[in-house]
Amino acid sequence: MNLFFKAKKVLHGFAFEADWAIDNELAVLFGYSGAGKSLTLQMIAGLLAPDEGFIKLNGDVLFDNKAGIDQPPQRRSFGYVFQDLALFPHMTVLGNILYGAHGLSEEERRQRAKEMIEQFMLAGLERKFHHEISGGQKQRVAFARALIRRPAALLLDEPFSALDNPLRIEMQNFLQQIRRNFPIPVILVTHDLTEALTLADKLIVYGGGKVLQVGKPVEVVNAPVCPDVELLVKNPMMLGKK
């Protein structure tokens, strides 16, 4: 299992360029706000087309401007968890989860939804709407909805950023548990240093629309390749201020 990402994009005067690859691991895109981390996830998921580039998942070319390939998001097998979770307010917990089980038989949908509800500790909440459940429960619904289709990779756009500290730690542990049950590549966007260092198998440091450094967290912390990376991994107070 692997994912190649290479893209160039100019958007509203912001020039973005990145090139990296990951295996079946948890990769963290880490860096200042506005460095192009969320943009990367959108390009991988097919929500935004790069100006030029090449994106490949498990041997399947998703985007290649030279070959004229640009698969729509519907044909790309990603589970995507948005920063605001994007739960459908007009659907119940069960409705949201079932909506993710697209392209399966009715029996299979029900069976998988049952499994997900059990696995994500949502029993008893099936008929509730998103304004009737807690922050942690909302997170679990969003993950269940993204994973019920058994996607080939999981994309997480700062899903824990709005949580308070104890819940954030609980969700980070939960994510590691999910990794054991769903052994697929995960790309997590964050600007939280602790989160990045705790969770990452591979750290991809972004800055100013570019990839500054790729490596294991310990490598990046011990040997930052430039002052910008050093500032990022040693002085987390700077985050979000640039």
Partner: protein, 222 residues
């Protein structure tokens, strides 16, 4: 023989109801394309369809005569093929109401669709659902209040249509005399009692619709 007040009331409701059915289908489709698609001449189309909102209804009516009159650009062919003209029938009142009230539907529905969080639509795409399925299962249900408010406002506007209806359908007693037209006839012929009854009845109905529309969509200020 049916009482003229009752006839006008029933005709007005029938005209407004039929017009509203068409308005909902056309208005939702147009609003959807205006808010979700980019195409050449998009704002021009929006302006053209919204124009009846600001034009005097007589001007709109005049355009409709130019188009649908017996010698009109479209009406000529209808008359040649079917030997039938829409002019001075209750269908003409429906057509006039449709054109005049459609902008209200488009405006409210477009605003409701554009207010939907883009991430909800993107989430639907990443879950494998097509644009059409997303429109049906996410966009329209989330815009339903705006759509309902638009429909109620359009119905009220269609009920009250006067100028364009007069030009296109005429004011034929017992045939095309909708309530606003009947009120005009009663007032100009000095029949105060009938005019008073109809005016009060109409005010009550209009107020009821406006109240409902406001309840449905507090963001819409029209």
């Amino acid at each position: 023989m049916e009482h003229p007040v009752l006839f006008s009331l029933v005709l007005s409701i029938r005209v407004a109801a039929v017009a509203t059915v068409f308005i909902v289908f056309v208005g939702v489709a147009v609003a959807f394309f205006l808010s979700r698609r980019d195409f050449w001449g998009k704002e021009l189309l929006d302006t053209l369809l919204t124009l009846p909102l600001v034009l005097p209804p007589t001007v709109t009516g005049y355009y409709l005569i130019v188009l649908f009159g017996r010698n009109g650009l479209i009406g000529r062919f209808l008359f040649e093929w079917l030997g039938w003209s829409i002019m001075f029938t209750w269908y003409a009142a429906v057509l006039a109401s449709f054109v005049v009230a459609l902008p209200l539907m488009i405006k409210t529905t477009r605003a409701a669709i554009e207010a939907i969080d883009e991430n909800l639509i993107r989430a639907s795409y990443t879950l494998g659902h097509s644009e059409w399925w997303t429109a049906l299962k996410v966009i329209l249900p989330l815009a339903r209040k705006g759509i309902l408010a638009g429909a109620v406002l359009s119905f009220a506007r269609a009920m009250g249509e006067f100028g364009a209806t007069l030009m296109l359908a005429g004011n034929i007693s017992g045939k095309t005399s909708t309530m606003p037209l009947a009120i005009y006839s009663a007032a100009s012929s000095g029949d105060r009692v009938q005019a008073n009854i109809m005016v009060l009845l109409f005010t009550l109905i209009a107020a009821m619709f406006l109240y409902t529309a406001n309840k449905l969509n507090k963001r819409v200020l029209l």
